[in-house]
């Protein structure tokens, strides 16, 4: 008898737990790098932790790190959806098609794809206007370079990366007409060894300021070692280059993630396209180093403030494309459509953009 009671109690407990579990909103994340990259994936994971802290027991988050872009991503996403996820954030450009494919099979699971442009009824896209941050650090780089050579470690020739190069170049050029950009494509988001080699190659070619669009702080470490300047990418990266780091572009995903999870809980989630910048706080500019002269820092800050206020757009004409054909007339501002699919260098950048 006693045994039966305890059995019944256990069953009730199990049912109760199951009941509590199903009331929880399950939130999944997949990252392209390790959460310990201290760059891109790290910041997305900070967003995930913020979601956990904000909602407490009302949500359960899971993540899978270092998921290759492509077929593997599809497998991981399917598994997550089968595991009962209510909303899944896919945090790299290359997850675009896998996200769309898996979303088709799971119409009741909401997907949020970062930095892509394909949407569906249950797929939203979101990205940050990193190019606004690139404009600010471009201004600083243009002023700080003494060799007039800025090295740029680029990952893949996708619109987001191309946009960043163009924005930084235009800004640097506006304060330093002699500035030259050297771009190295490493074809990876995360490979500290290769990123370090690329930084060394650029320094060898005379670069004294390094910008990067890859995820690890390797280039910052090299810059510190070689006594040149660099900028934190995605994360602040201060600890890797206390002397080298001039400023940084920090991704702050937490408010967006909290808002979207809230929408799922409230049942008000719908497919949207979010592209926020410095204004709403999705892109933050890291503290300026005291290596930056006061007047330069003031101008950079003014540019950041103007961008936040909407009075300055980093892509304001006149701007020509690399081949000299006009793109924007004087005073004209780039529309989001062109920016989202940007596949050309602006005039003045040397070298061929890989297609």
């Amino acid at each position: 008898m006693k045994f039966k009671t305890s059995l019944a109690a256990a069953a009730a407990l199990a049912l109760g737990l199951a009941g509590a579990a199903s009331a929880q909103t399950k939130v999944g994340f997949i990252y392209v790098g390790p959460v310990g990259d201290l760059g891109w994936s790290y910041e997305h994971d900070q967003g995930r932790l913020a979601v956990e802290e904000h909602f407490g027991d009302a949500v359960e988050t899971t993540y899978v790190e270092s998921v290759p872009e492509g077929a593997d991503a599809e497998r991981v996403l399917t598994q997550m959806a089968l595991g009962g996820a209510d909303i899944i954030f896919t945090t790299s450009f290359g997850y675009m098609d896998p996200t769309i494919n898996v979303a088709e099979k799971f119409p009741n699971v909401m997907f949020e794809h970062a930095t892509g442009y394909k949407r569906a009824d249950n797929v939203s896209t979101y990205s940050a206007r990193f190019y606004e941050g690139r404009h600010v650090i471009g201004l600083i780089a243009g002023e700080m370079t003494e060799t007039n050579t800025i090295g740029y470690i680029a990952s893949f020739p996708i619109p987001e990366v191309v946009r960043g190069i163009n924005a930084a170049y235009l800004a640097a050029k506006s304060v330093n007409p002699d500035v030259e950009f050297k771009v190295v494509w490493v074809y990876t988001w995360f490979d500290p060894g290769k990123e370090a080699d690329a930084a060394n190659a650029l320094i060898e070619q005379g670069a004294d300021v390094i910008m990067q669009h890859t995820d690890s702080p390797a280039a910052m470490t090299i810059a510190e070692e070689k006594g040149i300047y660099a900028f934190g990418q995605a994360s602040d990266m201060m600890q890797f280059g206390p002397n080298a780091r001039l400023s940084s572009i920090i991704d702050n995903w937490a408010p967006y993630y909290i808002e979207r999870v809230q929408a799922v809980i409230d049942g008000t989630w719908e497919s949207t396209d979010t592209w926020d910048g410095i204004g709403p706080g999705m892109v933050e500019i890291g503290e300026f180093s005291d290596k930056i002269p006061a007047d330069v820092a003031a101008r950079a800050q003014a540019a950041a403030d103007a961008i936040a206020a909407g009075t300055l757009h980093p892509f304001t004409g006149p701007i020509n494309k690399q081949d000299g054909t006009p793109w924007l007339a004087a005073g004209e501002v780039a529309d989001d459509g062109t920016l989202a699919t940007m596949d050309f260098y602006v005039e003045g950048i040397v070298g061929e953009l890989p297609q």
């Binding site: 020739p157 995360f190 070619q205 390797a218």
Partner: protein
């Protein structure tokens, strides 16, 4: 085309980029010569990278750090050794598991070390010689560990082909039953080789975290361990060819980055493919003569030894 590209600094940076591969591949060569296939190189490198980093940071001495890396790599390898040699588990599966294990364990061990700076490694600085214009930077002013990697290859060659111990190790790799019937302890010899391979992989990983990048980042080897495995086949199990393979791969990687920085008008996509293409092409050429290749591969590679008497 090479107008602005300094050949000297190119050679210097290719040597640095190749050294982690060279360490790991040399270690794996010895393991394979003993007839064991350990696919866990990537995992052992990661464990070595963090062990070396942790020890170097806490002692302030990079050389002690490298010893720690060797110990870390060897311990990880011995887990593989016990599983495959005593418990007779499948070597391929156990090696892959070791890589997964190493990735996870190193990430866990590395948590407190994110963002720390390792102590600088000592460099060779010989008066006059190190200051020579071309020869100085290429030959006489590297960090100590780079010379160790080259000496290691020479030592491994000498051991394998000029000592009795090397002969026994090769005999174990060629025919473990014969070696056993001659009274050699096959399992102990293999465990020694496995531990040595792990130590080398560990030092290779630490070269990455202490010298090439100097920082600890999770998963920082990014596939170098797999390249090292390929280099062993590429070298057809000959020590001096490991240098060739490692420097070729590292060299092409560094060269393509430098060509891009120089602004050479070749599509970057093709350039970044080149290290892999070159490796594959050479592999194909070298294995074209099937009989010759199979002659080089240790006959007992990957086979389980189980003494029945």
């Amino acid at each position: 085309m090479f107008g602005d590209l300094s050949l000297v600094s190119l050679i210097v940076s290719l040597m640095i980029a190749s050294t982690p591969i060279l360490f790991a591949a040399t270690g794996e060569l010895v393991v394979e010569k003993a007839g064991v296939l350990n696919l866990g190189v990537e995992g052992m490198m990661l464990i070595g990278a963090i062990s070396g980093f942790a020890v170097a940071v806490s002692t302030g001495n990079p050389i002690v750090g490298f010893l720690g890396a060797a110990a870390g790599g060897a311990i990880a390898a011995l887990i593989f050794g016990v599983l495959t040699q005593y418990l007779l588990s499948n070597q391929v599966a156990t090696g892959l598991a070791l890589t997964l294990f190493g990735t996870g364990v190193s990430a866990l061990m590395g948590q407190p070390y994110n963002g720390l700076k390792p102590p600088p490694s000592p460099r060779l600085d010989i008066p006059v010689l190190s200051d020579l214009p071309v020869v100085g930077p290429i030959l006489f002013s590297h960090d100590i560990m780079l010379y160790v990697s080259l000496l290691l290859v020479a030592a491994v060659w000498y051991f394998l082909y000029r000592t009795r111990g090397g002969l026994i190790l090769r005999a174990v790799g060629e025919d473990h039953n014969a070696a056993h019937s001659l009274g050699y302890n096959v399992i102990l010899i293999r465990l020694g080789a496995i531990a040595f391979g792990g130590a080398c992989a560990g030092v290779g990983g630490a070269y990455l975290s202490l010298i090439r990048v100097p920082q600890w980042t999770q998963d920082m080897t990014a596939g170098v361990g797999w390249i090292a495995l390929a280099i062993v086949v590429f070298a057809s199990w000959k020590p001096y060819r490991v240098i060739l393979g490692a420097y070729l791969f590292g060299g092409v990687t560094v060269l393509q980055l430098n060509l891009q920085a120089l602004g050479v008008n070749i599509s970057a996509a093709y350039l970044s493919m080149t290290p892999f293409i070159v490796t594959i092409v050479v592999l194909v050429i070298m294995s074209a003569n099937r009989r010759k290749t199979s002659l080089n591969a240790p006959a007992m590679l990957g086979r389980i030894f189980h003494a029945s008497h």
